[in-house]
């Protein structure tokens, strides 16, 4: 029979607005969480990470928020620019080893 592929969630944001990309993680024992950005034709690029003993971390134009109670991670991008257009992945790791497991990804689309 025909197999139906999973469609990547897409977030469309007006240029200049703030973007919030959400992620639910699975392992409550994970010790650290990372956000990656993947542009077309390239490998994922590290953006920012956060340890499980923190609930917020800021970088340049980006902020990661961690809510361990509901196992939720978010990436906030301030003043979204056309160059932010990409697929964003959250990842978790550091339970019993340094294995890094990725979420499915969200495509960020910038509207002019």
């Amino acid at each position: 029979g025909e197999s139906v592929g999973l469609h990547l969630p897409t977030l469309s944001v007006q240029e200049g607005d703030n973007s919030i990309i959400n992620c639910a993680y699975s392992n409550s024992a994970s010790d650290y969480f990372i956000w990656y950005k993947q542009e077309s034709g390239k490998g994922p690029q590290f953006i920012i990470d956060i340890r499980s003993n923190m609930d917020k971390r800021q970088g340049q134009r980006v902020t990661v928020l961690l809510n361990k109670t509901v196992k939720h991670l978010s990436l906030q991008i301030a003043a979204t620019q056309p160059g932010d257009s990409a697929v964003y992945f959250c990842a978790e790791g550091g339970d019993r080893d340094d294995k890094i497991i990725f979420g499915k990804g969200t495509r960020l689309h910038i509207l002019p």
Partner: protein
Amino acid sequence: DVKVTQSSRYLVKRTGEKVFLECVQDMDHENMFWYRQDPGLGLRLIYFSYDVKMKEKGDIPEGYSVSREKKERFSLILESASTNQTSMYLCASSQGARGAFFGQGTRLTVV
């Protein structure tokens, strides 16, 4: 600058061929990873290694093997390539419990 280099960007192989994908990192990282990326499925971990000659199965190791004879090099081997192994393969390395750095990827097509 951190660098992870995969030997090929594009590769076309025939069904049944033995395929080697090579990855080299120049950061003296302990950990190295092989993922495959397919539309709608994200990145799935095939194998990883946390030291020379050490390897651990990821989520989808079937049909693959790996080799880590030197710290900087991690090879992914498809013993007998099949069409369902057509995919983008991504190598990464990391130091301890830190974020991983990725290579550019190898797009493998098995015909």
